[in-house]
Structures are given as structure tokens and as C-alpha cells.
Symmetry: C2
Subunit: 174 residues, 2 copies
Amino acid sequence: MDIGAINCLSYEDFVRILGNVVERCPVVAAAVWSSRPFPSVAALEAAIDDFIEALPESGKEGILRCHPDLAGRELQSGTLTPESREEQGHAGLDRMDASEVARMARLNAEYKERFGFPFVICARTSDKATIAEQLRVRLRNTHAQERARAVEEVKKICRLRLRGLVLADQNNKL
Amino acid sequence: MDIGAINCLSYEDFVRILGNVVERCPVVAAAVWSSRPFPSVAALEAAIDDFIEALPESGKEGILRCHPDLAGRELQSGTLTPESREEQGHAGLDRMDASEVARMARLNAEYKERFGFPFVICARTSDKATIAEQLRVRLRNTHAQERARAVEEVKKICRLRLRGLVLADQNNKL
């Protein structure tokens, strides 16, 4: 599906197809539908980024809180969204031994206790060792630094999900 | 569950329990968790209302677009959220004859074509005759009038859903 076809979608089809480009936040796709037509995929990405950036800090944290833990209960119980399932699998988070799972659970708990939202990272471009290391490193950030950093990861995840759905165009840079 | 218990919830339990007070927009509950503790249910309602009002107009339309049609395909196919199912049933929308269903589908289509979002009304305090009548009346509104009106209905629906989940307190007025 190219950007021309995307621009022709009803809001219902647009939300059905693009509703999870930001994890469990279909309202984001539903909102940017107002800005169509998009001259390029890059313009659609920019509209999503702008919508997220315009949210109050609580709204940005709200988006983060709609994300599942990495290697958490939802991975074990099979209740992740298909997109998260694929991404966590890509990073090898579904093939960890008991001690790795326990270590990740401990770090996730520490992170959530400190920041009040889950650790979000673009798993599609990472692996389990890097994720555990980044968790440790980012735990040292201030609350504001880390919120901003996590939102950048949301945008990266969004761009990769979009590219799985919409054909790239010339203006389409990561 | 009273407001004291609500204030003690982790963001994960808060979103699990209150995530659908605004239809298919768990990000709203996830965002207002940042503002806890809430002195009363009314304060929680006000935090949600304030969050919605602070959204850009596209964001408000995004919230509307996360709502299902009334008496639409999702009611027929059983894919509504439990809350919507109950509310549409309460208004008698699950007990319409073929001509009533066809009339509602025609009005819904006309409304969506005109406004770019679905007709939203607090079905819990309405019935199928009033809903069809309101659809016809509100079709005459301007886009800005109707968006504001529909957002007020979202807030009404939210208040009633909250009251089904959180025990009322003295400050709790509809």
C-alpha cells in the first residue's frame, strides 16, 4: 500500500490498518487522519511525531504506559499485540533462560518504580544483551531525560511499524 | 473500590481497570495516573475532562474516531467492547428490526461523511428513538459545534463508566 492509497482510506480503515503504529494508542493514528492527504510517508511520520510532541508531559507518559514490559508477563502469556510479539522475538527476548528472565524482571521493576512508566526501546533494532545494558544505563537518567528518551524510542518503533505497512518513498528516512 | 484504593493502584492496574472509561483510549487513563492522588472521584473525572480538553482538535476527533458506530457492524458481529455492548443494549439498539437497522446505518453513514467521525451519544441515558432523532438533529450542526457536542457525550459516557468502577463520593455529581 503506497501513500496515495493510504490517503484514500476512510478513518475506519486508516485506524484499522495503522491503529497500532503507536502501541495500544489508536487515538494517535485516528487524530492524524485529520491531516491527510500526506504528500509522503515522511510527512505521515512527521504528523505522528508532531502529535506526540504536542501532548502534555502526562500524555507522553500515558503513551509509554500503554507499552508492555520487555520480556514480561505478556510475552509469557501470549497477550502481546502482534507487532510487539514480533519485535520482542526479533530481539531474542522469547529465547531467554530463567536467569535472564529473572534479571530482566528485576531491572524492569526497578525502572518502573523509579520512573512510573515501563522501559521502552526499539527492540526491532536491538538484541537482548543491548536491551539489558540500556536498561541499566537509562536507569541513571533524570525523570525528564528518560521520558524524552523513551518518547524517541516510541517514534523509532512507529517509523519501523509504518514501513512494514506503507511502501517507502523517496523522502522516507529513518 | 473507593478513591483511596484507586489512588494506591500501580499504573498497570490503573490502566487495566480504568483503561476503557474513554472508549478504546487507554492512553487517557494512563496519562491522568500522573496526577494521582485524587481527592475525590469528581477530581479524577475533572482530570480526565481537562486532559481531553487540552488535546488539539485533531486529538479530540481522534478520540471520537475510536468509538464504534451505534447499532453498527461491531454490534452485529459481537466485537464491541463490553462497556459499549452493555450501553448499546441498554438503549435497545440490539433489539431493532431490519428497517430500523437500515435507517440507523443510513444516518450513521451520512453523519460520518459530513463530519469525519462517528456519531457519539451517551446511550446509557438514551433510547433508540431518541438516538435516531438526535442523529438527525445534530447532522445540522457545524463541524466545530458537533465536535464540541460529541466530546461532551464522551465525558458523560466516561463519568457513567467511572461510576460503575469507583464508589461514588460526596463530591460526585454528573
